[in-house]
Symmetry: C3
Amino acid sequence: MRDFISMKDFTKGEILRILKLAKSLKENPQGNLLGDKIVSSLFFEPSTRTRLSFTSAAYRVGAKVLGFDSPDATSLKKGESLRDTIKMTGAYSDVIVMRHPIDGAARFATEVSNVPIINGGDGANEHPSQTLLDLYTIQEEMGKIENLKIAFVGDLKYGRTVHSLSKALSMFNCEFYFVAPDLIQIPEHILKFLNNRNIKYTLVDDYKDILPEIDVMYMTRIQRERFENLDEYEKVKTVYEIDKNSIVGKCKEEMIILHPLPRVTEINIDLDDTKHALYFKQAANGVPVREAMYAIALGKYHLDEDEMDVEKRDSISAHEEIQCKNNRCITQIEKTRNKVLEENGIKYCYYCGREIK
Amino acid sequence: MRDFISMKDFTKGEILRILKLAKSLKENPQGNLLGDKIVSSLFFEPSTRTRLSFTSAAYRVGAKVLGFDSPDATSLKKGESLRDTIKMTGAYSDVIVMRHPIDGAARFATEVSNVPIINGGDGANEHPSQTLLDLYTIQEEMGKIENLKIAFVGDLKYGRTVHSLSKALSMFNCEFYFVAPDLIQIPEHILKFLNNRNIKYTLVDDYKDILPEIDVMYMTRIQRERFENLDEYEKVKTVYEIDKNSIVGKCKEEMIILHPLPRVTEINIDLDDTKHALYFKQAANGVPVREAMYAIALGKYHLDEDEMDVEKRDSISAHEEIQCKNNRCITQIEKTRNKVLEENGIKYCYYCGREIK
Amino acid sequence: MRDFISMKDFTKGEILRILKLAKSLKENPQGNLLGDKIVSSLFFEPSTRTRLSFTSAAYRVGAKVLGFDSPDATSLKKGESLRDTIKMTGAYSDVIVMRHPIDGAARFATEVSNVPIINGGDGANEHPSQTLLDLYTIQEEMGKIENLKIAFVGDLKYGRTVHSLSKALSMFNCEFYFVAPDLIQIPEHILKFLNNRNIKYTLVDDYKDILPEIDVMYMTRIQRERFENLDEYEKVKTVYEIDKNSIVGKCKEEMIILHPLPRVTEINIDLDDTKHALYFKQAANGVPVREAMYAIALGKYHLDEDEMDVEKRDSISAHEEIQCKNNRCITQIEKTRNKVLEENGIKYCYYCGREIK
């Protein structure tokens, strides 16, 4: 039994073994791997893509799925705590996939659950299956993950996906370009993280100059609601839209375009039929990756425990007196043990991952 | 692989073979026919009956089902196009059943999907599984489809069901009575269609005179929202309500009453226990008919391609310059190739089927 | 085939055999018991816990599940009657589990359905699977059901769960304490029922004096919306909250605390890790109990018909002239036969169970 809460919980060796298992399941489907198991799919916040992908993955390894796709039809309306919902659902199933709007909800769930928890996204915090499928697609298409030049384009400030993927790629010595207007550029704490690991990166506000250099172009959606000034939104939106004309023939032959989807206008559909367009295949790769996650969560496949980052785990400690200040943190809502994670002398909330000042 | 978008795509021979396959599946259930397949059930518009019937059919041939039952919990809210939703879902499943409020949505889906599409109703346009189960029930109960006298009663103007079934029955040389008040009588384009095929029909505003003649009485619901004048609605509503007293002993012994359901007051429940009441059996027949559709869509059974109306298909062509004028057509929303279908010198939109003037 | 509508339909012997079957299914899972069957799960009113538990139970005996989790996405919006929804759904499945806000809806459904009905709660009336899992848990934990002292605490006036369980326990000669403020004390008709069976009971407004005596403490949630005066609610709420401090060491060693869940504040989470806290195990027991219900409903296991209370059944008769006065009764909504049940000279509505005066 193993939970999937954050990429931080996995070493480089473990990540590579997860991707290898996913590849094996993609090439040799195992329809009876989890034949007698039941998956709880708890979406406290709607997310069709993630939900259907996890369901498809469950079916493909022979599991059954129950749950809810939005909180409207749940006992939450009667005031039930996440604690009790998780305890109850654990009695009805063998593994829980959960999506929740509150940061740290998934980590908290592991403390009260009798069955493994797979985090399908907890607020602005973590979404490990997305990062794993991104890594999987890069490895499958580029033949490796190491030493690539990767541009992240669009909303880099709020994009949980970008934060998580860039941290994970830092294990593989990749070099980054962060392409965004100042307002939504990559946050300082990510840069600090990369600095600590001696990762090369460059911040730019246009992709044109760097386009010939990069191996992977990771596009993200710019959300109107992030902008106070709508004129600025309209200006920025256009700058970060790509199409056939702006890409084909101007980038490396083998450059791939990724996107966590859904896209709106940032990738023109005229790119869809080009060889660079990998975003739909990327979404499809979510299925074998999630099959692998189920297999590991339910103990059908064991990651080598030797490589676990035991030191980091040992540094976790409960400090009753330290309360995380993040208003969107589960510690503000549920009774937890206020655990703190220390790294390089800095304290982070064990649940939501935010620095505690 | 074969899509089910419109009855127009099937020849008479093909229709009969679909019904035969449905009969065979009803009599000899094949629980493992699609054992390793996944059905996407995408209801962009709620429809319990159609959805549950397609799900039951999938289960009965051994398939698994994922999807959504209303658009509330989907990425559509984030602005995702139908194009991308279909592409994504195709990666998670082997066949897509879709219900959509926009005319032509299903046809458009076939152009972007990697997996077969089954139309579970697209706006006011087509709902082929309903027509097939209507035909199935008529054949099973009357022993034939040819040369029957069929009365359509109620809302004939807006009833997609009536339009589609009357066109399909025209292949079988049936004779029609269209029983409705002027305001909601059968539209001119259906009559033109029947005229072109030399089909006999009569328009009446009361069923009493024709009741002794008919073999099938196809009832439909009169929807209040169609009427600007509620007094008129109340008057009309009562005229087109039938009950035991108005039917039994006044029609042929073997006459059957059909209804696409849900009914409200147009068929009194005192008729439910009479031998004429076939509407619940008709709904039940939706299950084997949809099993057959899955089997054909997924290539487990092949319709004889010789009989395909190849000529009609060849006449489809993309005219970039011709834009369909139907405000509810998918061509107004998604980027399509504006294809046009020509028949007897008239141009129809390939997607929504409306005449392009 | 056997319906599960009300505990009244089962003799003591039958109840014990249901619990025995549940125990057997818990100890020896039978994943293929209902392998080819389809369950309709119709939640006309949301209830996550009950729904997921019935779904989990179906999966564990090999059945498939279709249906809806709230009425929002159903044809009910088009005005479809419960009668027709049940008839339709029966055509798509082998057994129907239904939750409905109207009293008597489940009993009515048995009259129009071709497949067995399992009542997952009908308004304020009955919820037999809850009572069965309560009995199951008591038997499993205490080793017996007979001759126990049981305290019901909290909202005893509106709590369907309490009414049903106390009646069922009266077959086992248990003694009751009803612990509640006057405003929400146990209703007169329950006391009359117990009096008729010579059951000992005591009404108190605090649990402290009786705590050392009792074997089972059955807690319930006090709902704010029951109170006109919110000050009174706040006062009462606190009185009926228990925690580690108020319970541990002050009750019998083997006393168990039950709760139908969801709880809000009436049981402090500091009790969760004590041996008295049985409420999560109680919820988990819902799964094997519901497996047993499916097995019996679908004729895989037969309760001994000899023990059926045939006399009671014979006393049911249709009195067209007697209309139940309960505004929330299904007889006010659907066309029924207005059946009446007579017991000890008192007339009860056959559907909603209310006395007809």
